[in-house]
């Protein structure tokens, strides 16, 4: 029987309960992530063509897995690669390409639209793209800046994750206080440390 990913609401509940998610680059850091309390493992690099065994390992540890389709190797960020990731049992797909969000949702996975904070003059364009793409979650990078820029942004209709240069508990607290659902971080010391 093929794997059925959880509903986006369930994915969001899991993150809300344990807001520090593990961000790893392929198999590097996988063992530590599996042993941590982090509820979701975000795979940001590695070979996208050989993910299925790794995804099964994550599920066996009772965790969910999100894959960045723009960044993993071997895949082009398009509808076919989204289908491929669905077939590999991935629970959520991250992309900066708003047009992929419907395909991700159609595949039963949680759609995460990554918003890169570049400069203020480009923010409106990026926010408009998110408005059109209707993701389940918005991920903001660099997440460590979220507390500084939250005043520039409208209130999103969907939960916000923050990733990038998040290294200390104080930064995590500031980000969560700024309204984020959770953080994605490669700092292993933070994984699963903020359980509700």
């Amino acid at each position: 029987m093929s794997y059925v990913p959880p509903d986006a609401a369930v994915f969001i509940e899991r993150v809300a309960a344990d807001p520090c998610c593990a961000a790893i680059t392929g198999e590097e850091g996988l063992d530590e992530a599996l042993e941590s309390r982090a509820p979701v493992i975000f795979i940001l690099r590695g070979n996208g063509l050989t993910l299925a065994p790794l995804v099964r390992q994550v599920h066996a540890a009772n965790k969910l897995v999100a894959v960045h389709v723009d960044l993993v190797g071997g895949l082009r960020a398009d509808r076919a690669s989204v289908e491929w990731l669905a077939g590999a049992g991935v629970d959520a797909v991250i992309s900066s390409h708003g047009q992929l969000m419907p395909a991700i949702r159609h595949g039963g996975m949680t759609a995460i639209h990554r918003l890169l904070l570049v400069r203020r003059s480009q923010l409106d364009t990026a926010l408009a793209a998110i408005g059109r793409s209707a993701p389940n979650i918005v991920e903001i990078l660099p997440g460590v800046l979220l507390p500084s820029v939250v005043g520039m942004m409208p209130r999103f209709d969907v939960p916000v994750l923050a990733g990038g240069f998040v290294r200390t508990e104080a930064e995590v607290h500031a980000i969560l206080s700024a309204g984020a659902l959770g953080v994605t971080t490669s700092s292993q010391a933070l994984w699963g440390t903020m359980s509700a």
Partner: protein
């Protein structure tokens, strides 16, 4: 071979403009004007005006190619000495012509920063534009030291305090005209210059 001593210097503050209206850098600041998000005709018009830009984000100029001809035109005919670009070869070209080439280094997360730096020419005269600039306050010492200088911090620097803090780490920052005016007023009040 250009004389290295004759190379232009990077002002501490670049005031961002789309070139459609004249923008003058406050005289009390060590500042110049950066033109970005514009088109070729506007850039040419602004370069010939009484407030020519000192810098251009060459990839954001509609109608202008991303090749050596474009760099030669901007630094030669338009006499704009500081070129920001995402393309390593264009930054190197600007530097080879005796100007300042600054390569965009994208700092959204630590892994991305490392990958972005892999393409840096790391030749003496090519510096870096850290995007978004405000994140420079959150980089570790080893990350900062890996970024070739001069470093221009560009993006999301919107408050006087942030500008001051970023200037303590970077060699220069990009700000909007309103913030440049605030910085100038503050410095005049303190009797100092930047």
């Amino acid at each position: 071979m250009p004389d290295p001593d004759a190379r232009p210097r990077l002002p501490s503050i670049l005031v961002a403009s789309d070139g459609h209206h004249p923008v003058h850098a406050p005289p009390d600041l060590d500042a110049g004007v950066l033109v970005r998000d514009t088109d070729l005709a506007t850039l040419v018009h602004r370069a010939a005006s009484d407030c020519p830009p000192q810098a251009v984000d060459i990839d954001s100029v509609a109608g202008l190619g991303s090749d050596d001809y474009a760099v030669d035109f901007v630094t030669g005919r338009l006499a704009i000495p500081i070129v920001l670009t995402r393309r390593p070869q264009l930054a190197a070209r600007a530097a080879a012509r005796g100007n300042i080439g600054l390569l965009h280094v994208f700092a959204y997360d630590s892994t991305g920063l490392r990958r972005s730096l892999e393409g840096h020419p790391r030749s003496g005269a090519v510096g870096s534009v850290v995007t978004p600039g405000l994140v420079i306050l959150h980089l570790r010492e080893d990350e900062l030291s890996a970024i070739p200088r001069p470093i221009l911090a560009y993006g999301l620097i919107d408050e006087v305090e942030d500008a001051r803090a970023c200037l303590a780490v970077a060699d220069a920052i990009v700000v909007r005209p309103g913030l440049a005016a605030k910085l100038a007023a503050e410095l005049v009040g303190a009797g100092a210059t930047v």
